[in-house]
Assembly symmetry: C2
Homo-oligomer: 393 residues x 2
């Protein structure tokens, strides 16, 4: 039977991540490819205890249908934390709980995008976002990401010329590049963007995982009516629970609420109450500080290994938080070709290509450090150095 799919179904391809998964079956493979938090950071015992409490105190309620907008005390917690950490005022009734922030992205795309509407993204950008916008038949405009943030000259030019409906950015420790916008870049961004009728999607899964205490003002604070701020517990508590959120002005919040209702009614009531119980019984700041220490050490070790073993013609972007290092090979070298060579040496990473729209054989690639052991970082970077050396010649 010849199935009659929607037009949008033709636009979405298998992601390269699926290709990589094949190689991860090999137990000797060292992987810097994932975007996974380190499981040693998961508060297993505390969550176990919290789950007992939730079942004991609220068993029937937690198993019943619940509110589409999410568990009220959890929304309150998120609102208070924004105030505490960023002095940012977000009323809890403008916070919609979603199944990971990925789902918020889906609802935003669904709410704003007709086919051929334009979305402005950083280059490189998060491949899951590209995939989601693609599934709503968006057209992409890309803006180069510098080491201190988005290119402002290009931003103004493209906003004027292309009138995109949405701008998608990850200002803190971007996936894949690790780039953080400087305070100056953030202010410049806001100055330009406020002159246009465009919505900013500020994706911030890594903001709490900073290795330095430099001020990083949320774009939401600079552009409150124009910004949809997304957050997540995936990188700070546990991704398996699939809990994130989006903060939106009321007029947009209502549309996102309706999308949530038509999509899955609400996120897991158990997971929401479980996380809230955990947050009530434990010191979240102490917990996050321990993740920062763990990841910062891994990042430093990986940078040092790269410095020791990689040829000097290979560059690495500065990284002050998050989970990734971004490597730039000499011009003309293909990280995709390098990937298949590296597989033979039992080490994998994510080649740059899937992080770009319509570009192939780019000379960049992503290394994940959060989920690699000390031993694997040393040995994996050595193996990778060998492969690069050979392919440089």
């Amino acid at each position: 039977m010849e199935y009659r799919f929607a037009r949008r179904s033709d636009r979405v391809e298998d992601s390269f991540i699926v290709e990589i998964f094949k190689y991860l079956q090999d137990k000797e493979m060292i992987s810097f490819s994932g975007g996974f938090p380190n499981p040693d950071s998961f508060p297993v015992d505390a969550l176990k205890a919290a789950s007992q409490k939730v079942f004991e105190s609220n068993g029937k309620n937690v198993l019943q249908y619940s509110q589409t907008e999410g568990y009220a005390p959890l929304r309150e917690f998120i609102s208070k934390r924004y105030k505490q950490v960023y002095d940012l005022d977000i009323p809890s009734d403008e916070i919609l709980i979603t199944s990971g922030s990925q789902q918020a992205l889906d609802f935003i795309a669904k709410t704003f995008l007709d086919p051929e509407d334009k979305v402005l993204i950083e280059e490189p950008s998060y491949l899951g976002a590209i995939q989601t916008f693609n599934s709503y038949e968006a057209d992409f405009i890309t803006i180069h990401l510098n080491e201190d943030g988005i290119d402002l000259v290009s931003l103004k030019e493209k906003l004027t010329h292309d009138q995109p409906k949405l701008i998608y950015v990850i200002p803190n420790f971007q996936n894949p590049s690790g780039v953080s916008y400087s305070e100056e870049n953030r202010k410049g961004f806001a100055e330009i963007v406020k002159q246009f009728n465009v919505i900013v999607i500020e994706d911030d899964p890594y903001g709490e995982l900073h290795f330095t205490d430099i001020k990083r003002t949320p774009l939401k604070k600079l552009l409150p009516d124009q910004t949809l701020l997304m957050g997540s517990f995936s990188k700070t508590i546990a991704p398996g629970l699939r809990l994130g959120w989006v903060c939106a002005p009321q007029a947009i919040y209502k549309k996102l609420f309706t999308s949530k209702e038509a999509s899955d009614l609400h996120s897991s009531n158990l997971d929401q109450q479980l996380i809230f119980q955990y947050l009530s019984d434990n010191d979240y700041d102490t917990h996050i500080a321990s993740i920062r220490t763990m990841y910062s050490a891994k990042k430093t070790q990986m940078e040092k290994a790269i410095d020791t073993y990689f040829p000097k013609s290979v560059k690495v972007y500065p990284c002050e938080g998050g989970m990734f290092l971004w490597v730039v090979l000499p011009e003309g070298m293909s990280s995709l070709d390098l990937f298949y060579e590296a597989v033979k040496e039992k080490v994998v990473f994510v080649p740059g290509d899937p992080f770009y729209v319509g570009r192939q054989h780019t000379n960049t690639f992503r290394l994940n450090f959060s989920n690699a052991s000390e031993k694997d970082i040393e040995e994996g970077i050595k193996r990778l150095a060998k492969v690069i050396e050979i392919n440089l010649k």
Copy 2:
């Protein structure tokens, strides 16, 4: 700021359910309005024990990112259960775990529907499905539901004339009407449908909650390549965990998988492993049998109360399972008007209107019996009878 929403955003209205919620704040209100399972049926202690086991045996794994398609042992369980209960062969790699079957509906709509594509639905139909199809800008074709199933003459005529891409049906104990397709109706349906290039969405959240042992062959068995069969643990274990699934032929499964990936990566890993642990440690058949007994008794009590108190000009559809009774008022009487009269007498139900596409002041309404107490059924039906009597005059 004037936001530039997508066209589809204009199509979705607030559901009437939100309106009803307002009245449920009143503690004296008797509600037959929800679509909620009875919380007394939730296996709280068994799930609590299962959650301990999962955290103890698999804590780090259960909190990590997981496979988009769902937890493999859970997919295996569902495959085996179809074989056991219906002698239906569904390979586990054609089962995609979703966050409630509502989410499967969203992915199916996204995969198949371009704006103005036609969807054939029963009249009345599940309002959540109407909302989801609406959000993809579908056009609706409706077919009258008889007491023994869908109207076959009309089905053939409309398939020929309108060439819909999708047919959405709930053959077992439909929400809202409680109607079940007879075996003859199912066979007639399949005979007609197999002549057309159309996909059948067989939504089956209530199939296991039957009060009689009549044979009910899944449409999936009669039309394997054309049918997407959706199921759910919401009505048999707990809706708060948001776990359902869809069974799809490989070519369609791949598209739904991609939708899932772009939407929320995967459903809660904890909830999936929790349900699987529960199913491994407990007798699911015994559990479901106890729900059947509970709901069947409530249904019988409600039918008896209606028979005792309602005017004879009010009809009720036969009901052999599920959670709802469907009431037909005398022609010309509006259940929406009646709703606001009933509110004054402190009893609520769902008027028929939201279950129809573009019809207002219908003479039908839905009563939920699964979540009402013995006392409330007696008293609520009495109150309702009084309101109907007054409005008949």
